[in-house]
Amino acid sequence: MANSFSEPARWRDLDKLLARCGNIVGPGFEPSPQLRQEIGEFARVLVVGAGGLGCELLKDLALSGFPNIDVIDMDTIEISNLNRQFLFRLQDVGKSKAEVAAKRVMERVSGVNITPHFCRIEEKEIDFYNDFNIIVLGLDSIEARSYINSVACSFLEYDSDDNPIPETIKPMVDGGTEGFKGHARVILPGMTPCFECNIWLFPPQIKFPLCTLAETPRTPAHCIEYAHLIKWDEAHSGKTFEPDDPQHMQWVYTEAVKRAELFGIAGVTYSLTQGVVKNIIPAIASTNAIISASCALEALKIVSGCSKTLSNYMTYNGVEGTHIKVTEFVREKDCLVCGPGTRIDLDTSTTVSQFIEILGEHPKLLLSKPSITHRGNNIYMQSPPILEEMTRSNLQQPLYYLMGKVRKDTVHVSGMAENNGKKSSSLRKLCVVFKGIAAADVATQMDTAGNF
């Protein structure tokens, strides 16, 4: 198998890109006949999502010279996927998307090794993600994108001049499609905007007023949402609606049909019910193919440097004709996820109340009344009184202990900051470094802690 991957004829076109110089190559590109081999040896790609876009991505990446790919997806194959998720067959219904997709691509593309992970993205340790050189996203939810983005940005470190340290940048390529529209973007944390910097690009889901649903339904979607949001609770006291349970979906559909008949509204179907409840826009196979091709190419460009990467957001619209536009978005200067944060050096003995004083006097912050949180642990809350009371005892504790004795970590504080002489409420990212602790000491301390 490995032999055919090194078979030169098959890679003629790719080798032309990688072995020759040109005037639109990326900075630092060193063309070489061995480059393809080196990518094969050292580059590890993670594909997140094995749905419509994920199937295309796996195929495209495997054919673009990436022999070491992992894919993660928690979903199983449904019959309605088969029209576009072309790696799946009727007999695969009910099996893991990641596992079947990996197997099919390996059968078809010799020399490629795809490792499937049939689980939720949150189930993996953070270090799992650090093993990859590049993460390619074929997802359909904001939550999942936001999660992977925060993971990838958590590896990012800045030097003392707030410049990102290149080895810590975890590049991402994000694809997304909705019907005839799609996007591909390149995220180089610390250099180009991260997902959170431009989250406003994703419009919130349209929500109908509940009273319209209850009183004056006018569309099939109103009838479906009535059954889903109001009727379900009435009929199933306390039982949560599971969108992935076909019986639940069937129940909502049946109720929506009754509702529609009552108001003389036509057009409620089972697939529309699924679409409205799960907020699905019908997927178009060709949109997935176009977006995936662009993402795979960007991945190759990032890894090899054979061309400049997309800067940094490409939108595709195939609704009427074809319209493609590239926009260079800019970073959010104080992004809580990808920004460097303000560096603060503390002694290991500094207590939380001393830390609060330091925040108030720090020239870059001038932050008064700060509430402090560290990785989901609320160290001190100014308000409401009930939380202030619950966190008050931390004030006299050394911050170093409360942060789990790490040498350096991110802490977030919200409070009143002075901006051009005006006080305004703000949320700040801080990079707290404890003085006089070498990385090795921390390792020893943690080992000791583990022995208790």
């Binding site: 990326g26 900075p27 630092g28 050292f42 580059a43 953070i126 270090d127 650090n130 050189n133 904001i142 939550e143 936001s146 999660y147 925060s150 993971v151 290149p166 989250i199 406003w200 919130p204 929500k207 109908f208 007023p209 509940l210 009273c211 209850a214 009183e215 949001l229 109001i230 609770d233 009435e234 990032i302 890894v303 440097g305 990467t309 809580l336 996820v337 509430s371 949180t373 990785r375 989901g376 642990n377 609320n378 809350m381 100014q382 308000s383 409401p384 009930i386 939380l387 619950m390 966190t391 789990g404 790490v406 977030h412 919200s414 949320l427 990385a439 090795a440 921390v442 390792a443 943690m446």
Partner: protein, 183 residues
């Protein structure tokens, strides 16, 4: 651009530095924004808040509203908040846990408040919602009905509406529906 040769070198360094890395729990941008919202809460005097899962879970909490004027004066109404990880992109899910005779709250606890659904914007915050909920008790509105019967009574016979509200809050029947006491 990835420098492949640096990647080769880095493999060794990683083995060293991984020991010193703390166990990481992710805090999403949504959780951070919520942390800010909660730490800046300025509750009206009618409202108290409680965090059932302790100080570190701000995504699930309850508020109780005890209106000090209007039809619902003297009653205590509990609401649960479930804040999604996509907050503030998406609004919290709010339900009324106290069964209430109210034109804009149905018997299952669904609440018709525009900023909880169609008019939600990320610049709004938890405080805005709490004030909105308080407003529902001082200004129940028959134009956005979720409880059709209550809305019709409020529109056509405010005095009867007031009687019905008092009866429901004291723990009694309005029509066929029984309401537990909430005074």
């Amino acid at each position: 651009m990835i420098n492949l040769f640096k990647i080769k070198d880095k493999k060794n360094q990683d083995a060293e530095s991984a020991n010193g890395r703390p166990p990481i729990k992710k805090q999403s941008a949504g959780e951070l924004r919520l942390h800010k919202d909660i730490s800046e809460l300025n509750l009206p005097k009618t409202t108290t808040i409680s965090f059932l899962n302790g100080k570190d879970d701000l995504m699930n909490f309850e508020i109780s509203i005890r209106p000090d004027e209007g039809y619902y004066q003297g009653g205590t109404f509990m609401f649960t908040f479930l804040v999604p990880s996509s907050y503030p992109h998406e609004p919290p899910k709010v339900k009324c846990k106290t069964k209430v005779y109210h034109p804009n709250i149905d018997l299952e606890g669904n609440v018709c408040l525009n900023i909880l659904r169609e008019d939600w914007k990320p610049v709004l915050n938890i405080n805005t919602i709490i004030y909105g909920l308080n407003h529902l008790f001082t200004q129940p509105n028959h134009e956005d009905p979720l409880n059709h019967d209550a809305a019709a009574v409020l529109r056509d016979n405010p005095r009867l509406f007031e009687t019905n509200v008092r009866r429901a809050m004291a723990g009694g029947y309005v029509g066929q529906v029984h309401f537990p006491r909430c005074i």
